[in-house]
Symmetry: C2
Subunit: 653 residues, 2 copies
């Protein structure tokens, strides 16, 4: 017998047979719920509230996942609840897959009251006879300013003025104007810029970039982009509702020109029209994502009125077509750190040609707009406690600070955590093993893939889980070598290379087995050593112990989660109480989303970038010492990782 299930706020309706799990029903309806545990009922991430009707299941207190408070509030786990009778199910934003989990509590509120990068304002123009002598533009300007007391001045693009006379008369004077904030960085460099963080907001000015007839604002979308070295994520935002409607991600086509920013900068200099082709590659990647987003949403690229991009300094330079030759040479000078607001047509982006493109400001040649975005979205710059943000992309960047001060640094981690340079590595997309556990007693490797489909490879979070559990099981020793004496058929040698089979191909219908070899482990150990060395040097320079950190925020394109205990086990993060460690997902795109939605956020991003003190690791010999010491698991100096040491000892004993 079939029942009707309604998912809202999405408004998706479908009929499913009795007994279907809500998780499966949601999947069929195209509502993507988070389900990190693979529908086993252990993570609680697929929680929903049933507003009408009563599903079967959830009778006994669940083994994991929901807090007592959540249960009291009516949350159930979608994977454990089965359809009986018709249901209306509310899906909280936090349960949606692909939604970035942002920790700062007041971001939502802040975004609500804000001025998006482009905002549509609809007005009724007075009859021209009532305003003798005034031009169409003046009538429009006066009405918009009346509706928007936050604005002080209102200029207009020539193109918009060209469209205005017809638009002003098409529907009885009802006109909607698209207002762009072209002064996101305060009319550029100003005398007062020296006193960073003064926080005095520049007087509000906006620019009319388009006008359309009508009394109700037509759709107005924006795209927030995380311009990563390895992967690029694009979020389609409804700028009027202030929320994401769809997200997409894929590999950066620039990978063809080098895996990391250094090799790409070299490529640009050595090839004809290098800058042009490099720019073309990133634009083409973003355009592909936008193409998918608009098709999915049933809109056109013309409906995209604004783009906000967060990327590291080199990626931002590539995107804008700026020269990078001097970023990679001592004294490492970028062309700019705060960027002109371009238009989509200047860059060839698949959006309304007039759409402003705002790039989050960079801090130094190797600490970029993605970090400004991360600090913005995590709220690090607002707290009294001292937090650390660690962004593990191809470059590892870390920021320590609070509302009073911020210090940052960057180190080259390589793309291992994004799945590159790993035999079966892949980025965090459909089919990637994002969570894993090896049980030596049963010789069982359990895992969950993104999308809960059959495994295609393994992404960063899965690699960390696999490596940590293999270490604890004794499959791998502290030097990263596979213990060939370990009694399991999974341990084998192919060619010269010892490896460990994670997934037997025959079990999932693939020809080859998914395995992890020693070369993979070496790459991962180097990456984690670089990140930990960066953290150690930064702490040392601040004369701080790791224990003084009130919170560690881990960002990165790992997938949808990161197991803090396993990260500590590997020596990737300091050995702190696990509740201090939080995974914040892609904090870069979260910051780009905020910048897209809120003028205050854009202003704040500029202030954050100016306020941050950059610490140049390349000038510090201590970094190399820490790096080399970090090439053991978890570290040469086990006393730095007492909890890990005790676990490893437990195994041995």
């Amino acid at each position: 017998m079939d029942h009707i299930v309604v998912f809202y706020p999405e408004g998706k309706v479908l009929e499913v047979p009795e007994g279907t799990t809500l998780l499966e029903a949601a999947r069929q309806a195209g509502v993507w719920l988070d389900s990190a545990c693979g529908g086993e009922g252990s993570c609680g991430k697929c929680k929903v509230i049933v507003r009408l009707g009563s599903p079967h299941g959830e009778a006994s207190p669940p083994a994991g996942g929901l807090t007592p408070q959540e249960r009291a509030e009516g949350y159930v786990r979608a994977c454990q609840s089965r359809v009986q009778g018709d249901l209306v199910v509310e899906v909280p934003t936090s349960s949606q897959l692909g939604e970035v989990k942002v920790l700062s509590g007041d971001i939502e509120a802040e975004v609500e009251k804000a001025f998006p990068l482009v905002d549509k304002v609809c007005v009724q123009l007075p009859d021209a006879r009532q305003t003798p002598g005034q031009s169409d533009l003046e009538r429009l300007q006066a009405q918009v300013l009346e509706q928007r007391p936050d604005l002080e001045a209102l200029s207009a693009d020539l193109e918009a003025v060209r469209d205005l006379p017809a638009a002003a008369r098409a529907q009885g004077g009802h006109v909607c104007a698209a207002l762009a904030d072209m002064e996101a960085n305060g009319r550029g460099f100003s005398r007062s810029r020296a006193c960073a963080g003064s926080g005095e907001p520049a007087p509000g000015a906006a620019r009319i970039i388009a006008v359309e007839p009508g009394s109700r604002a037509p759709v107005c979308y924006g795209v927030a982009v995380d311009v990563g070295t390895t992967t690029i994520a694009a979020h389609l935002m409804d700028l009027q509702a202030g929320q994401a409607v769809s997200v997409r991600g894929c590999l950066n086509e620039q990978i063809a020109y080098g895996a990391d920013v250094i090799s790409r900068m070299v490529w640009v200099e050595e090839n004809t029209d290098g800058p042009g082709r490099m720019q073309q590659a990133v634009v083409s990647t973003i355009n592909r994502l936008i193409g998918q987003l608009v098709v999915e949403q049933g809109i056109t690229t013309e409906d995209i009125y604004g783009v906000a991009c967060a990327g590291n300094t080199v990626m931002t330079h590539f995107l804008l077509g700026l020269e990078t030759a001097h970023i990679r040479r001592d004294p490492y000078v970028p062309a700019a750190r705060a960027f002109p607001i371009a238009r989509a047509r200047d860059l060839g982006l698949a959006a309304n040609p007039r759409a402003p493109v705002y790039c989050l400001p960079c801090i130094s040649s190797y600490v970029g707009g993605d970090i400004a975005a991360g600090v913005l979205s995590t709220g690090l710059a607002d707290v009294d406690q001292t937090w650390m943000l660690v962004d593990m992309g191809t470059n590892g960047e870390m920021v320590i600070g609070n509302r009073e001060w911020m210090v940052c640094c960057s180190c080259s981690a390589g793309p291992a955590f994004e799945g590159s340079g790993i035999a079966y590595g892949m980025h965090a997309s459909l089919g990637a093993i994002e969570r894993a556990h090896y049980d030596p007693t049963a010789d069982a490797f359990s895992y969950a893939t993104i999308g809960r489909v059959k495994p295609r490879g393994i992404c960063g979070s899965g690699l960390i889980d696999a490596l940590a559990t293999l270490l604890r099981a004794g499959v791998i020793d502290r030097a990263g070598k596979i213990n060939l004496g370990f009694a399991s058929p999974r341990v084998r040698v192919r060619g010269d290379q010892p490896e460990f089979v994670l997934v037997w191909g025959h079990e999932v219908g693939r020809e080859d087995d998914i395995s992890l070899c020693e070369a993979d482990i070496r790459n991962l150990v180097r990456a984690k050593a670089a990140v930990f060395a960066g953290i150690a040097v930064l702490l040392k320079n601040l004369n701080m112990a790791a224990e003084a950190l009130d919170r560690i925020l881990v960002a990165g394109a790992f997938g949808n989660y990161l197991d803090a205990e396993n990260a500590v086990t590997l020596g990737l993060l300091p050995d702190l109480p696990l509740e201090k460690i939080r995974f914040v997902g892609n904090s870069s795109v979260a910051g780009a989303r905020m910048a897209l939605l809120s003028r205050e956020a854009r202003r704040k991003a500029e202030l954050i970038a100016r306020a941050m003190t950059n610490f140049e690791l390349s000038a510090v010999s201590a970094f190399m010492e820490h790096y080399v010491a970090g090439l053991f698991l978890p570290h040469t100096d086990l006393s730095l990782f007492p909890s890990v040491a005790s676990k490893l000892r437990a195994r041995v004993s």
Copy 2:
């Protein structure tokens, strides 16, 4: 025997035979001296100072031209001075042909201290090691702001940032930045705009639009354009020296689509891609002029970094590609009165594609940026006295006012004063009769042509002279009819049409005679009646007598002069003491030049446009009464023109 003659400040050197007049020598050297009287020694406009050597001539006090003070200062008339021995001759700006005579005494001073629409600033960037962490853009911004204390904020075009890293390193850190004032109209419409004339200057912001390596500012030119309905004038300005280097003018190609703005607006609506083709026509005309200017100066269009345009409201709309449909329909609403600053590439102008294009603001649908420019350049808005500016283009516009208030109106005069609709009429260019006199006693018609070449036709100032002297001589009666009983072979009938022969063709080697027929006279009388009616209605509405005007400034493309007495004789201007009447030439292009050279001037133009009260003649029945009454020469009511009446009586008696 030949002698060397040097003209400066032009720096032109040539050899000429002894006895050559300095006027002729200047002509051969390409230095164009004004010589309204045709080299007869009567006007004094070709005055120069001989700094080295001593020419022959000028022994006896001249019959006309130079004042005793000018003689005391060493001025001689170039037409009356002949080469003997080598000479160094200084040519004052006022003697150069094509230079617009602007009356306001302090314009020059004001322009000197100003910020041009685009300014080049050269700086030495500090070594990047001295400014750790700063980007190239920040180093440049800091240095420019240091040199330019008038600036508060400095943004940059993406293109300029793209060029910067290479430019910053090409010549040891010596960089010149082209700074554009993109906020000429104060960041657009602002809340404070309502209180016109508050005069509080907006905080100074500039935008870097280009960077070039080098320690000395390379050439930086601008073009000031008078975008007239019938003729277009373009002045090439050296923005660093603050002066014109060359001027050109020609017919507006839009004439193909109609002689006046009304017929052109109709054409635009009735033809496929009307707006595009109309815009193309004016841009093509301006580009042709710019092409001539750059060839003459040996520069390229890329060297033109800024363009300032003054035109009436319709012409400005055509130039910017704005819709004009509602300008010509009640209630006559323009798309805009203050215009976005476009870039040359947006309009297709033959200049550096990044060059800002500033259009002077308009007052109403029929009082345009040419009038704002005229008020700016004549200083009308600065005086305590009450002045009137009359601009006689195809539209006649008049402004009465002073520093406290300004009232303006506009009337359609037709293009007769620009030579259109007149059988032998032509615009004020080479070969046009610009000055004329008929002596009935000798039956002699004497005249001077522009360039002193043989006559090709007659322009506005020549027509006014011819008509007035024919009226005084009794050839024409007060109704504009040719007196067929007048005893002269010049009076004849061709077809049905009585006409008066101005120049016998055989005397100047042309096949036909240059004549003035009754249809021509009718067109001229209608034009002058419209202008005078506009003046009369405006005065009446201010409850002012014409005598209360302290000065009448007459602007227009008449040629290089206008005979005030003749203009009054025809009833074109009120019968005031002649010393109150001044011809100011093309005050529109003079204003555009100021706007190009001075930020203060641009700000002032915007204030002028906002402060002016427009008076709509089309709504006033009194205008038609005054117009009809003005269809006599000088007027139906002779008591309005006592001085003319007494001259006409003198002839009769």
